[in-house]
Each structure stands twice: as structure tokens, then as C-alpha cells.
């Protein structure tokens, strides 16, 4: 029931499943400012979608869903256009360097295992850093922030920034730039370029979109408020998604019908996810982000065990961990949105 024939991939696939996968990834993409490719590709694969088409189809979906999410974040004032433009340029350079390094290393031998270990290390390190930030640093910051926000009624005061961001802002190599939308008065262009080139390099080296690397980098290294980091990152995802969609379609790797139905769910989800950002404080978003990448790390660890042992059960478990995490986090975001919206409505009336 509800099966549709996908002529490009040559298989029958459940239409509701496509919409559901799209919806979950859309909510998370709109809420966290990521593309969500690392969820969709294994999710499609679990349910029998050909891997040859999974990545391209996913990129087509990412492009479509990020249009609406970017628009919504733009409306909420969550996009720093200047910073986003620099991010796109520097990320492309870094990405090219990362992928060139992989190509060189592949000539020496199989680098797949090294890449997966690096990926795993990055996921867990980021997760630990963000959990640490939530449990150790945030209670003080929240107090400072609430007082200052009340006084200024605007963007974050500098005191909410991480120590790494404060150090980065002290680099005085001209030209110096200001990013008023992000509340950054002065920062060296070179420092910003270095951060984005580094995140681009990592995404090129690991072969991932990089949204989950860029978003924390914007918060912890450049000192951008969480909501603006999400919106600005989505702008970069929009551009890279458009490029990925077209280039993979040219290689015949996009199943247009699957992408179409997934996008119906994803566009609705992305709007809901982006709206939820209004109701959740920055540290709450960062906590959920940390949970998400911790479970994604577990999934990659299971995948790595599968590569070592060749027991298919580990690969299946990896896919289910990822899908389970996506569904649970989607529910959390929707529940949080509903609860906070009702509270706001009560206060108004």
C-alpha cells in the first residue's frame, strides 16, 4: 500500500516512508542549521533504496528544504549575510584542499578506515565539548545573558562568548571586519577565513556536507549567537546543496521522484524546525545538538565495528540508531515548540 514505482532507481518504494524521512530530516535541518545528509543516506539505505542514488537524492532534498528554512531564519533575523558569504568562499577552498588530500592519500593505500576513525573522533570530541559547555559553563552565562539582554534587548553581549572566540577576536591582523548582525565588533578577516577553511577542509576530508562542523565552529570559534549560527549555516547549506543537487543529477545519481516526495515532508518539517528556534534558548539548542552528534557518533562506531567484523547486524544497528535518534529528536523539537507556543499564548491572553 502507498508504494510508488521509482523509474530511475527501478524499484518500488513506500511514499509515506519517503515523506516521513523527509519530515524528520527537515525538522532537524531547520532547527540545527544542518543539511542532514548523514541521516537521510543511511535511512534510505536501511529501507532498501540503492546506495548509488542515496547521496544524490539526499542532496536534491537538502537543496529544496533549505530554501524555506533559510527564508524563515532570514525573517527572524538569524542570518549574517556578510559572514555567510565569507563562509561559502572559504569553505569551498578548504573543501577542495580536503578532497585533494584524500585523493593523494588514496594513491598510497586504503584511507577509508582512517577517515572513519577521524570522523568518529570529531563527532565525540564535538559532543563532549558541547556537553561540557552546557553543564559547566552555561548556568553562569545564562545569568549574565539574561541581565544583559534585558538591558540591551538585543544580541548577545561579548561575555557569552567562548574563550576560544575571545582569543580569536584578539588577533589583530588587518583587514579587521565587523559583523553587526552577529554582535561582533571587530575580528580579523584572516581569522574568519582560517576557521571556515578549516571546517571546509574537514568536510572535504571526511566527505560530508559539513553543517554539523560549521554550526559549532560559528558558535565556539567565531562567537556567533546560536540562532544566528543556525541561520548563517543554512545559507551555506543552500548554496552547497544547489551545487550538489545539480552535479549529482548530471552524474545520473538523483532519483527525482524520491527526492520530490521527500521534499514535501522536508519542506514542512524545515518550517516547523526553524520556527522552533524562536522558542528554545541557545544553550538548549546546543544541548540537543550535542545529543544528536553523540548518537550519530555511536552509529558511526557501529559502522566501524561492521567494517572490522563484517557482521551485517552491526550495520543494521547503525542505521536504526541513527533513524531512532532522528525520530526522537524530531518529537522533542515538536513537543518543545507546542509547549512553548501554548505558554506564549497563555501569557498573551
Amino acid at each position: 500500500m502507498f508504494d510508488i514505482h521509482l523509474p530511475i532507481a527501478g524499484i518500488d518504494f513506500n511514499i509515506l516512508l519517503l515523506i516521513l524521512i523527509g519530515f524528520c530530516v527537515g525538522v532537524l535541518a531547520g532547527f540545527f542549521g544542518v543539511g542532514g545528509g548523514w541521516i537521510v543516506t543511511p535511512a534510505l539505505n536501511i529501507f532498501g533504496f540503492h546506495m548509488a542514488y542515496a547521496i544524490g537524492t539526499d542532496l536534491a532534498n537538502i537543496f529544496g528544504q533549505s530554501i524555506g528554512a533559510t527564508k524563515k531564519h532570514s525573517k527572524m533575523g538569524n542570518i549574517d549575510w556578510k559572514l555567510g558569504s565569507i563562509s561559502i568562499v572559504a569553505s569551498v577552498v578548504g573543501l577542495e584542499l580536503g578532497s585533494q588530500l584524500i585523493l593523494k592519500l588514496e594513491k598510497i593505500g586504503d584511507v577509508g578506515s582512517i577517515v572513519r576513525w577521524c570522523y568518529l573522533f570529531l563527532m565525540f570530541s564535538l559532543s563532549v565539548l558541547m556537553f561540557y559547555d552546557y553543564f559547566k559553563t552555561n548556568p553562569k552565562r545564562v545569568k549574565v545573558n539574561s541581565k544583559s539582554s534585558d538591558a540591551k534587548g538585543g544580541t548577545d553581549p561579548p561575555s557569552t562568548r567562548s574563550k576560544l572566540a575571545e582569543r580569536l577576536h584578539k588577533i589583530n591582523i588587518p583587514p579587521m571586519l565587523s559583523f553587526p548582525t552577529s554582535g561582533i565588533q571587530s575580528v580579523s578577516l584572516w581569522a574568519v577565513l582560517l576557521v571556515f577553511a578549516f571546517t571546509g577542509f574537514l568536510s572535504g576530508f571526511l566527505g560530508v556536507g559539513g553543517g554539523f562542523i560549521r554550526m559549532p565552529a560559528l558558535v565556539y570559534l567565531i562567537g556567533v549567537p546560536t540562532a544566528i549560527a543556525i541561520g548563517t549555516d543554512l545559507m551555506t547549506v543552500l548554496v552547497s546543496g544547489a551545487y550538489g543537487c545539480f552535479t549529482y543529477a548530471m552524474k545520473g545519481r538523483v532519483e527525482i521522484f524520491a527526492a520530490f516526495f521527500m521534499l514535501i515532508g522536508a519542506s514542512i518539517g524545515a518550517q516547523i524546525g526553524a520556527t522552533a528556534v524562536k522558542y528554545v534558548k541557545g544553550y538548549g539548542i546546543r544541548l540537543l545538538f550535542a545529543v544528536m552528534i553523540a548518537f550519530a557518533g555511536c552509529s558511526i562506531a557501529l559502522e566501524q565495528v561492521y567494517k572490522i567484523t563484517s557482521v551485517p547486524a552491526y550495520q543494521t544497528a547503525a542505521g536504526f540508531v541513527l533513524m531512532g535518534t532522528a525520530v526522537c529528536l524530531t518529537l522533542i523539537v515538536i513537543i518543545k515548540l507546542t509547549v512553548e507556543f501554548r505558554r506564549e499564548k497563555r501569557i498573551r491572553s
Binding site: H5, P7, I8, A52, A60, F63, G64, S66, I67, G68, T70, K71, K72, S74, K75, M76, N78, W81, S85, R141, S146, S149, G154, T155, D156, T160, P225, T226, M235, L238, V239, A242, Y243, G244, C245, F246, T247, A249, M250, K251, G252, R253, V254, I256, F257, A259, F260, L263, I264, S267, Q271, I272, A274, T275, V277, K278, G282, Y283, F341, K345
Partner: protein, 107 residues
């Protein structure tokens, strides 16, 4: 204001997505004909269109015979569907009272 601001990156995104892969495709095709190396990542298989009809046939035929046009259609369909679905969802959310405007950022 926000739509005007979004139009520029969307236009840049589409321009980049259309031009770079075409240049890359032309370069790789020329390189492949010179060196005899095929493009490893490109799927070469043809879809059997004998049992297809309507939109399925049109898309599959385009996929078989004109990959550049197929890529243009895929990208435009995603852009149009993404924009229109976002617009419709926005209307529904507004009707439910979930309208958003510029927010103050709380860390």
C-alpha cells in the same frame, strides 16, 4: 526585505550549481576522450522505458538521453517545490498563530 535578501544567495546558488558542474563535465569528458579514462562516478546505465508512460517516460527518456537537461529539471523542480511548499506551510503556521518575526537572541 528578507525575500530580496534571499533572492541574491538563491540566484548565486543556482548560478554556481549550473555553471561549475557543466564546466567540470565538459572538462572531464574531454579528459576522458584524451586519456581513455571513463568518469568513474557517472552512472552509465540506461533505463528501460518500454513499460513507462506519461511523466515517468518523459523523465526516464531525458535521463537516458540528456543528462544536462535532466540535471536542470531536477534542480528547478527542487527549487520550485521547496519554495512553494515553504510558502504553503508558512500560511498554515500563520493561521495557527505561529507567525515569526525578528527575534532577540537568547543564549
Amino acid at each position: 526585505m528578507s525575500i530580496t535578501k534571499l533572492a541574491a544567495p538563491l540566484a548565486i546558488a543556482l548560478a554556481i550549481s549550473f555553471t561549475l558542474p557543466i564546466i567540470n563535465h565538459q572538462y572531464q569528458t574531454a579528459y576522458a576522450s584524451e586519456t581513455g579514462n571513463s568518469q568513474e562516478t557517472e552512472l552509465k546505465h540506461k533505463i528501460d522505458t518500454s513499460k513507462l508512460s506519461g511523466v515517468d517516460y518523459w523523465i526516464a527518456d531525458m535521463y537516458n538521453n540528456d543528462r544536462v537537461m535532466y540535471a536542470v529539471v531536477v534542480t528547478l523542480v527542487m527549487a520550485v517545490l521547496g519554495t512553494s511548499m515553504a510558502f504553503l506551510t508558512d500560511l498554515v503556521l500563520k493561521a495557527l498563530g505561529l507567525e515569526v518575526s525578528k527575534i532577540s537572541h537568547r543564549e
